[in-house]
């Protein structure tokens, strides 16, 4: 009877705990060349290093070249590297397939122009909540090693390397570097939860990459995000209300205006990338970003999602593939009327666009009163609004009878120009100090949270275009007409 039970373990009464899938005995020789000993179980196939290397380059190349518009044009790829395992491997893979160091042909090199960009977040060390001075020193040392190793790697592959500090999101004037760093730190400390800090870092980083690609003249940015990370992002973005844009964020390609964000490592599990990394004897200097702001006992949404995915992946190794297959069936509709959020550049949903239209109409009608409104009253009205979670909510369950059409401004940002998730993000900003209370131990007034100029610019431009549209809307023709 016990034997029978063991044989039919799938139908056994499971009780409360799920049973991890039993590990299969791995064949010792490679399934492809059938000669060399296997080093990795790729999906279900045992493979030797040479076959695995060849296959991974082939898959990677396919993922990059499938988005080429014209094969005769020079392809301009910008590699966004954090210095972590995946991006380090990506650099190596790119150099292999375009005929760089160690590969046979060099012809492909003529058709590819590649540069490496690293966004340096070392100035955020002050908001990380690290305990001791030693920790800070260790981190600074690590960061310096990271940049040096990336620079050396880029030199080795003959790619130009750019180290862009994150404070450049506030401009790139060298004379006020310290001020910009302080502004960045101030804006990060204004967010209370580590989730919001991580998210705003992600948005700033993407924006900075976008601007850098523009200024350097590259139209494609390659990211080294592994399938584990993308599956985590799928869950975390869904949890943050970014459903409309989830397919863009997790699929192979995401069109940001005229620049494409490509995820060529989407097919590879972190495990597979790590094996490559170890085999090539690369050194990982990174501190994981999820720990960067981990000053909260509850952790962040991103960290919880990662933990959950890892847990499920341990139970069933198909979890990540299933999740990514699910998102393949989703699509973010993009057309000429698409409008992007002022902070994260994600497309706004139809409902959000409608709200924006209504808002721009209301703004026009009450423009005279809004210009006379003082900054403090704007802020206080906004705070009231966020406390009752009513200002831009699209859910019909919230009883928002008032304030719906009133104008709310935080640092001159018009909230309807932001997506649902970024509005949630701004609700996490600490309450600005009441103006009548003078701080007892300092004579200077506290600085308000300052978001980079691009946010305000996007917001103003977007609103202006909607106001213009309202003026000429009577003369615009619909498809139906």
């Amino acid at each position: 009877m016990t034997d029978n039970n063991q044989l039919t373990c799938n139908t056994e009464d499971a009780g409360d705990n799920l049973i991890p899938t039993p590990k299969k005995a791995v064949k010792k020789t490679c399934v492809r060349c059938k000669e060399k000993p296997s080093i990795i179980l790729f999906r279900t196939d045992p493979m030797c290093w040479d076959c695995y290397h060849e296959m991974i380059i082939k898959k990677f190349k396919l993922n990059v070249t499938r988005f080429r518009d014209n094969k005769k044009d020079v392809e301009r790829l910008m590699l966004a590297v954090s210095g972590g395992v995946s991006s380090r491997v990506m650099m190596d893979l790119v150099s292999h397939f375009i005929g760089g160091n160690g590969s046979k042909g060099t012809k492909a090199k003529l058709f590819f122009k590649v540069c490496v960009v690293h966004i340096n977040i070392s100035c955020l060390d002050q908001v990380s909540g690290r305990a001791t001075e030693q920790d800070h020193l260790d981190h600074a040392q690590r960061q310096a090693n990271l940049v040096r190793s990336l620079e050396e790697a880029a030199q080795q592959y003959e790619f130009p390397f750019y180290n862009i500090p994150l404070e450049n999101i506030y401009g790139c004037d060298e004379s006020n570097k310290k001020e910009r760093q302080q502004m960045l730190i101030d804006s990060f400390t204004q967010f209370t939860s580590s989730t919001s800090k991580e998210d705003i870092l992600e948005h700033f980083r993407n924006q900075l990459l976008f601007e850098t690609a523009h200024s350097l003249g590259f139209n494609k940015i390659l990211f080294g995000t592994s399938s584990n990370r993308l599956a985590t992002r799928l869950l975390s973005s869904t949890s943050k209300g970014r459903g409309y844009n989830v397919p863009n964020e997790t699929n192979m390609v995401d069109q940001h205006k005229d620049i494409r964000f490509i995820q060529p490592m989407r097919d590879f599990l972190l495990k597979e990338i790590h094996i490559y990394h170890r085999k090539m004897s690369f050194i990982d200097y990174t501190n994981h970003n999820v720990l960067l702001f981990n000053n909260n006992s509850k952790g962040s949404i991103n960290a919880l999602c990662e933990k959950f995915i890892n847990h499920l992946q341990d139970i069933s190794n198909q979890t990540i593939h299933t999740l990514l297959r699910s998102v393949d069936k989703l699509v973010s509709p993009i057309d000429e009327n698409s409008v992007s959020c002022s902070i994260c550049c994600a497309n706004l949903s139809e409902q959000e666009i409608k709200q924006l239209e209504q808002y721009s109409l209301a703004l026009k009608s009450s423009s005279s009163s809004s210009t006379t409104t003082s900054t403090s009253s704007c802020k206080s009205s906004c705070n009231n609004c966020s406390a009752s979670s009513s200002c831009c909510s699209t859910n019909n369950n919230n009883n928002n009878n008032n304030n719906n059409n009133s104008i709310q401004l935080t640092n001159n940002i018009h909230k309807p120009t932001l997506c649902y998730s970024c509005n949630q993000l701004l609700r996490d900003v600490k309450q600005p100090p009441v103006l009548t209370v003078v701080p007892s131990d300092s004579t200077t007034t506290p600085t308000p949270p300052t978001l980079p100029i691009y946010v305000q610019k996007n917001s103003t431009v977007l609103l202006k275009s909607y106001q213009l549209r309202n003026e000429i809307k009577d003369f615009l023709l619909d498809d139906d007409e």
Binding site: I301, A387, Q424
Partner: protein
């Protein structure tokens, strides 16, 4: 009201009394309800974090559900609505809310309580007692329909047969059909269930994790099955489970709290725990997930299963026979324990096609009483009526 507001809203900074009195005023004033600014708050709303009093909570809770009902146009005047009642907190609050709102806003609905007795000793028999008490309290007709009556199996017997591995799948499929059959017996044209926002967010995550795109598309709808004769709606789609518990607690509602004794659904348990962790970090996460799922756009080429009627019992399904009939067939033939692992439906369809080719008939393993209860079917009847009317019009 304004006077109260002014009195209550007096801030400590503006009081010009002595220091001792000002501190006591500060304490009292600081704790006023954020909505009415009169009463002392007794709870922090899980959804928004607002500190509000009991009366304001009742008001906002009921108003939100009323808004959901009105904005989604869930009911028409004269509808006969069956409330799926298990005796648990969700369905008890649903019964209370539906009767309250029906009276207050004059929806003009005929309400019924509909309970399904799965035949789980020590669980359902106790919870049904609660439903019976609810019937007395709200004065709504109650119909109890049992699995034994319908399928000739109780869940106790099914668990004895198949074990605890897939029992929830059987129970879920049977209950869904039983609710429809019960509603038909009551002459109802709509069913409401107590699925809350937490349930829906959890289902969204589960369907993503399982890669079940058709269900992912469907689970977010506030009304499902509208293509059939019996649409089901979820008035609690945007209502937090914690607020339902609060409402039941403050209203001192009589509900049954024990978990089902056969419910070790480990995978859903993981999703539930995960959601609880997320909610602790950011309380709005449940509404955010629903917001996300409402904004999912699916590729056009995804094939949705074509709805048709079961060959054996006539229930709406997407295969030749419905899941309930397939499960029953396996239960009756003693193969149920293995059937879920070997894609039985396909095998069955193949074998039934072969049988037809040979000129033999499909063995009818459906219990005799299944077709006698409820469905003979509203759908079939509807179709027949449509066919008749079309034939008469064509004749004329």
């Amino acid at each position: 009201m304004d006077n109260n507001n002014n009195n209550g809203g007096t801030t400590p900074t503006t009081t010009t009394t002595t220091t001792t009195t000002s501190t006591t005023t500060t304490k009292r004033v600081a704790k006023l309800c954020e909505l009415c600014k009169v009463q002392r708050p007794v709870l922090k709303r899980p959804k928004t974090g607002q500190m509000i009093c009991k009366e304001c909570f009742y008001q906002i809770f009921e108003d939100e559900i009323h808004n959901t009902i009105i904005s989604n146009n869930l009911f028409q005047r004269g509808d006969r609505v069956a409330i799926g009642a298990s005796g648990g907190k969700d369905s008890t609050v649903l019964a209370e809310i539906m009767t309250t709102l029906n009276k207050r806003h004059d929806y003009g609905l005929d309400l019924f309580l509909l309970s399904i007795d799965e035949g789980i000793t020590g669980y359902r028999d106790d919870s049904l007692e609660t439903v019976k008490r609810n019937q007395q309290q709200y004065q709504i007709p109650l119909k109890i329909l049992s699995y034994k009556e319908l399928y000739n199996w109780t869940m106790d017997e099914i668990v004895a047969e198949i074990g605890l591995k897939n029992n929830c799948t059987f129970c879920g499929v049977f209950r869904r059909q039983a609710l429809d059959r019960g509603a038909v017996l009551l002459g109802a044209n709509k069913i409401v269930t107590g699925h809350n926002a937490d349930d829906i967010a959890e289902t969204v995550l589960m369907n993503l994790l399982r890669g079940d795109i058709p269900r992912l598309q469907r689970c977010i709808n506030i009304v499902t099955g509208s293509e059939g004769a019996l649409p089901r709606s979820k008035p609690f789609k945007y209502t937090y489970q914690k607020e339902i518990v609060m409402y039941a607690y403050f209203k001192k509602l009589d509900y049954f709290t024990t978990e089902c004794i056969y419910a070790p659904n480990a995978y859903r348990g993981h999703a539930r725990d995960f959601l609880k962790d997320l909610e602790a970090v950011r309380p709005s996460i449940i509404i955010d997930i629903i917001q996300s799922a409402e904004n999912f756009h699916f590729r056009d080429e995804i094939k949705m299963p074509v709805q048709r009627n079961c060959n054996l019992c006539g229930y709406i399904c997407s295969n030749e026979i419905c899941m309930a009939c397939d499960f029953l067939k396996n239960l009756n033939s003693g193969k149920a324990k293995y059937a879920l692992n070997s894609n039985s439906l396909k095998n069955y369809n193949k074998s039934s096609n072969n049988n037809n080719d040979n000129g033999t008939t499909i063995p009818d393993t459906t219990p005799t009483n299944i077709s006698a209860i409820g469905f003979d079917h509203p759908l079939q009847q509807q179709q027949q009526q449509q066919q008749q009317s079309s034939s008469t019009t064509s004749n004329s």
